[in-house]
Symmetry: D2
Subunit: 360 residues, 4 copies
């Protein structure tokens, strides 16, 4: 790493759209120590605009709010903000009115919102898996330097990262997943405590649809400037459980050739990605495989690989589909802010956007 | 109901083997108000024998310990106890050495232990579903008045109750279930609080095997004095979550003829059982179907039908197997002590065992 | 009890102001089975007016919503509602604009809101303790049949009920209390689950002030139509913990004459109140004393006496103030809706308000 | 720091007695990255002796078990172990038979067990507060190089650290504390999850006595080779709540001269200790004062200062004793393993024990 990479003075200025919420706060925390990016702009809703960020955000993370960022003044979420690179933690409705106008005004927007994930011209990215989909950026009708890239749903990311090596090695014919999702996925105020305590809520609005469609797009093939979805059926049942962070997913798969658990384990353990090599937020090993009989567990495994690695355990035969296992991924790190950072790092490291470039 | 049925003086004396544990306490609470049975005998381990029950039991239920029962002296778990009818809440190993000897000594043992559930000569019962399997009692090599009947695993019961009407109406070809199980299923001390809080444990020893095999036996056919298992494959993934009572199960089914959700809903809602009509512990409607988008939930639905009804919700298409839904059942009422009481009530009401008879 | 008391046709029609919230739902549940009162009117906010109650309320109690009440249409909270007797579960601000106008329009309002509790002309009542304060009703500038009476804060009620017999027997010189309060006290949405889980919040807005002042008014003396506060200092520290229902309070007291723990225990155990004898919501024994070393506990003791009795345990010497103990009371039953019902029962049974009378 | 201090080859070899339990695991984690100490020896109970540590310990921390330590063989807890310096995480009974014999065999034992804390010849230490009590080590009847020093109870440490500057600045006349203690303080299995969930347990065996006596010894004065206890009364009420880590304590104090909250805040904020300057485990600022109205909170504040700083908030007037506030400290870091490490660092840095010396 050369001097320019580490010098704070040369870091790329960035902004976070919707910085006061739960995912926004994760962006702030991760960016506070980022070697390439410097957070210089935060936006929020009407209620927050013009206030000090430290006062407008109802801070809910154990890490203290970074002092320099606490002093930023919250701006409106609209085109024309100072930084070229913007991360979006906007909710779905606001993203609808903000993200494309920002891209059209010359911002590179890397979004965690669901709004544009399935748009034909927008890449939906898990950087280790489908970096080739970045080519969609070239086809966007935006001025040089602008663009819009998206990060998948928090449950989709972990699932797709585990499916990718198996789809490559064997071909997936069907995937069934039941999720046990953490409370932080709903943000703050999110789930009322009286609803969460001593309870399970077997429904999360819109979630099952996302988990059933997004992986097919991510694992799909780029052809003639469009993504052809992978095409195998996915069935999702999504539950909210009383866990702060970390989504647990019980997965069953039908794979071509009916490989045995040892072959599946091998494919998962051996998975590495040249596409993220050297990127600051990339975990050394994206998929950790555990042999412990009762792992992964959210409290013990969610922070592995700085919250960017997923953990897979209990790989065994499924009497119906063939293979089943349990996976865990951190829903606000790998599954939201950290995942979006990795997308941005990949774009920047490849020099895909004029005006933004950094070498790993 | 005639006078004799309600007169406490005429109630059938019963005992509970392993009465100090978590399931034992549920038996005690339910029996304290039972119209047919009178609890007169409690047994426990070496540590407890000879002590007052109120002192030996580490009482953990909100209902206060019934005073008359608190004053019983804990006896050893062995043949020769005063009551003919014994409920067993013994753990698996102890049950191995106690239950058959008791049956052979002329006790009718209704057991919640896993030990003998799959024995060819022992009925494994969900009273609404397979009362015909009671015929196995006749073939047991025990003296008149003796016998051994069993209650399924806590996760099996709710599942099988939901599968039964669908198996009858359509025929089940495959069943996949992911459970989110309550802490009370593990008893006391059970799961350490540091393990349970802010966590999911994706493993419960022996549980998946039980859930994959017991329903097939219960839904099986009695032929030539043996049960022929139903034969469709079941895949189970069992998780422990931070809920006190109430197992949630996410179920996917492949049914013959591929019925739509409305047909499945109808079959579940219409299910009634003449085999349990009038029994004190039988819920009026065994399967409650909810249309609320985010139900069933443990805290809101576990006590429906006095904890003896199960609740099914979110019946919808599964893109892989055809139908999926969520079910909830109370694991220590319907799933343990209450279920065993219902078995005993059915046996007694049919006069299957000399010396024990009561009319509904 | 004569026929008229039990005949539903003769029950007194009542309404609940602010019926859709957490405390409102408790009122609905308790009134559904009340022998004297019949719920015929529910009010709510702008958002709910005109809707079916069953749809407007985000029902959060395990008991199913009573069908007849689910079908009521939500009305506006304002004078002129059909029932003379109105229970108020309004929040503080709305109560400010609604309660006195209702009383002035001839309604008897029994309120759980904090708004008017300290008003000189309004009785603040724990029916077992200060029924004589009901005399304040006579001095209110309202038409015959109208009036305004209030129920104390959820933490105050349990505390004051325990203090009352000790104040009478010995005289209290100082009271220090640290509360561990349940989530239901904050209603729904209330405390976000991410804030409640694996956490303690050592602050509840306005609560400490209420706990430090209300008991002094309740234990005060009525003289010349005004209440002279009891006058001893109270220090309160209020914490929110991850409990659904049931406030735990650690109390230390300086009592005149420095009685020993046995004397204090005796005074608490012997406490009975002729002022609530025969009232439907009055517990037989208001203060239960436990000798168990680790009780009271919310999950095990909150429902004692149908949630209307408090439990006191661990009575022992305090090296600073003299006596300390732990008390538990159900915060939405005794501490809110149930407490207000008991107030109304007392008023009605005494025939204090023209048009409303019922005999215990 | 000179080269020898950082060279792993020169680190002081240490052992942990009782390394498989909850506090033992914290020792292991902290020692794995310690600049002065190198963990080379772990001991356990009969059940564990001879096994690989990685298998004998039921690992329960999010940090993975350090590989080098996982490979150590568990030894018996007895004199003659290889390292001179031993940390003790033994339970009280075992410590009784092991710790003094080890000290008499020439080991320096730094113990977290309660067994010898109040022995006249054993220093009970909060390094920032009473380093002068280390002089007791000289009077111990042990060979050169041996000795026994102790770390206070987990609730005592945080409390005493907050009391120390106030005792110095004003003089404490009385201290009342109600604790809300985390589950990790009870170890594993510790509190059953069914007891902890949706509950408070208002009793922790032996805890109140420790909290009422230990601070007086720590804040006492060394005179003629003995500690004269501080002498002001302490009243403690100890509760277990559903929090993983972090003890919350509600404190009320009577201080000489009745200082106002601003003076108390100043004394707490300004507290620094020359006695721990430069020690690896010493937090830069031992007492953090927060102005947020609803802080400290376990989930947000327990890890401040790497879990070695305590946080004090809500400093305000108490109508009875004069001053009250809330404090939070991490019970297994500052309150157990981390606290003991700091004691050892202080002893070693002062060269108090022949054979062990390291410069900060």
């Amino acid at each position: 790493m050369n001097d320019s990479a580490t010098s704070p003075a040369r870091r790329i200025p960035v902004g976070v759209l919707g910085a006061t919420g739960s995912v926004g706060q994760r962006f702030v925390t991760l960016l506070a120590e980022h070697p390439w990016f410097e957070l210089v702009c935060v936006t929020g809703s009407e209620r927050s605009i013009g206030r000090r960020y430290g006062e407008a955000a109802r801070w809910a993370l154990p890490q203290p709010i970074p002092p320099a960022i606490a002093d930023l003044t919250v701006e409106a979420s609209e085109p024309g903000l100072a930084p070229q690179l913007l991360f979006s933690a906007l909710n779905r409705d606001v993203a609808q009115t903000v993200e494309r106008p920002c891209a059209e005004a010359g911002h590179l927007v890397v979004s965690n919102a669901a709004t544009h994930r399935m748009d034909p011209d927008v890449p939906l990215l898990v950087p280790e898996v489908n970096a080739d989909h970045l080519a969609l950026l070239e086809g966007q009708a935006v001025p040089a330097g602008g663009g819009l890239a998206t990060n998948p749903n928090c449950s989709t990311i972990g699932l797709t990262l585990a499916l990718a090596p198996l789809h490559r090695a064997f071909g997936i014919e069907a995937a069934s997943v039941v999720t046990l999702q953490a409370l932080s996925g709903a943000g703050i105020p999110g789930v009322p405590s009286l609803v969460a305590l001593d309870n399970v809520v077997p429904f999360i609005g819109g979630e099952e649809d996302k988990v059933e469609t997004e992986p097919q797009r991510i694992l799909g093939t780029l052809a003639s400037g469009r993504v052809v979805a992978a095409g195998f059926p996915i069935s999702a049942q999504c539950n909210r459980v009383a866990v702060t962070d970390g989504h647990t997913e019980c997965v069953s798969l039908r794979l071509q050739g009916d490989p045995d658990p040892a072959e599946v384990r091998r494919a998962l353990m051996d998975f590495r990605s040249a596409d993220t090599a050297g990127l600051p937020s990339a975990p050394e090993v994206p998929i950790l495989v555990t042999e412990e009989p009762d792992r992964p567990q959210p409290r013990l495994d969610r922070d592995r690989g700085a919250g960017m690695a997923i953990t897979v355990g209990r790989i065994r035969r499924c009497p119906i589909l063939g293979i089943k296992f349990v996976l865990l991924s951190h829903n606000t790190l790998r599954g939201a802010a950290g995942g979006a950072l990795l997308v941005a790092e990949q774009i920047v490291s490849r020099g895909l956007v004029p005006g933004l470039r950094r070498s790993p």
